[in-house]
Amino acid sequence: MSFDPSLPRDGVNVSRTHPLREAALLIAIVAAAGALCVVVIATAVDWLVPKLPPGLEARLFASAWPAAVGRDADDAEEATRAAAAQQVLQRLARHWSDNPYALRLGVMREDQPNAFALPGGSVVLTSGLLERVESENELAFVLGHELGHFHHRDHLRGLGRGLAFALVMAGLGAGGAAADVAALGGQLAQRGFDRDQERAADRFALELLAAEYGHVAGVTQFFGRLPAPDGAVEEALTGYLATHPLHEQRVEALQALAEQRGWPTTGALRPVAE
């Protein structure tokens, strides 16, 4: 038998698609699927949340007072500030006629200025925020913003979306980088919903402010003193990734609203109770 050797050919067993093209396509598809998943979940949650009565919410989350929150008994100054904030919160809430929540206020020891609306009607401020506030009007805007989240039940929406998305990811059994890519798409979609909620809460806060003080002064100055939401570098990199709209955009939207409703943007600022 004669033997006629031939070399193996780089033939049908290897696809000709460029790997980077394949990577870009797959990342886009999986991220889009994650984003679609969040949109579907968010729609379902938005439909479901108004059906949950606030009374039931208050009972469900009665024990949800975070352990990190607690007045520091030694810090008399902070206790005074917290008590003053509590009063401002109650006064603002009077302008929200059908408020179903028994509001509570807590202070968390944290230098980053921030505020949270927790399920069940708890508002938590960081000590860093209380230190940075220079007038009662500014504080009222922050509290009004959190009341806006309660009004729109945003605290439940965010919770519901996060939970449902985590469940879907766990159900898919997606692990490692593939899960990360899907989660990335999901988070990008989620950020869109987050920012819509923040804008709505801003508008609600401005309405309460106008009703309480007769003007909406103090808000724009306050934004100027706050650090950028997610760090200045990241904000400069991409505004889309931020959970909150950029400060300038928020201020512009608020000024436009004040102009439209005829609320004065200047007026006497009340000092914070010391």
Binding site: L7, E22, G176, A177, T238
Partner: protein, 156 residues
């Protein structure tokens, strides 16, 4: 993975492992083609019987074995494929390399053993699981084995 820094790090790592991985792959293919050219006169065939006319003086087992690992880029692509479905193209080059390298090592062993041909050649493949308990693939093993023959008159 939500903030831009994490996303950038992920993409940079992905691109980096692609560049390094394809460079290594390119180099590997170059030596594969060189050796295939150099050793092409040694018959390596899948016949189960000794071809008619060959006078066998001696025979023995010859094997060629290779383990090739998956780079991060390929693994991520395969992971994404696992969600979407379809051909896992990123592993095709990897397995092609592994098969051809295993056959080349089989030829090398045959020549070192003084064999003139290898018949009844078979390929076996097995997956090597990660040390982390089967999650992902650390590498793929391809084993080529066959019967080496010493002939009184080597094929031309």
């Amino acid at each position: 993975m939500g903030d831009p820094i994490a996303i950038g790090a992920f993409l940079a790592f992905l691109l980096g492992t692609y560049v390094v991985g394809s460079w290594i792959e390119h180099r590997h293919y170059r030596t594969i083609r060189q050796r295939e050219q150099r050793w092409r006169r040694l018959p390596v065939v899948t016949f189960r019987q000794v071809p008619a006319g060959w006078r066998v003086e001696d025979s023995g087992l010859v094997t060629g074995n290779v383990v090739i690992s998956v780079d991060y880029f390929k693994r991520v692509l395969a992971g994404l494929r696992a969600l979407v479905g379809g051909p896992v193209k990123s592993y095709e080059l990897l397995l092609d390399r592994a098969r051809r390298e295993a056959l080349l090592r089989l030829k090398q062993e045959a020549m070192q053993g003084g064999f003139h041909a290898v018949i009844n050649v078979r390929l076996e493949t097995s997956r090597l699981a990660n040390a982390r308990g089967g999650e992902g693939v650390a590498g793929v093993e391809v084993l080529a084995f066959g019967t080496g023959l010493k002939l009184s008159q080597p094929p031309a």
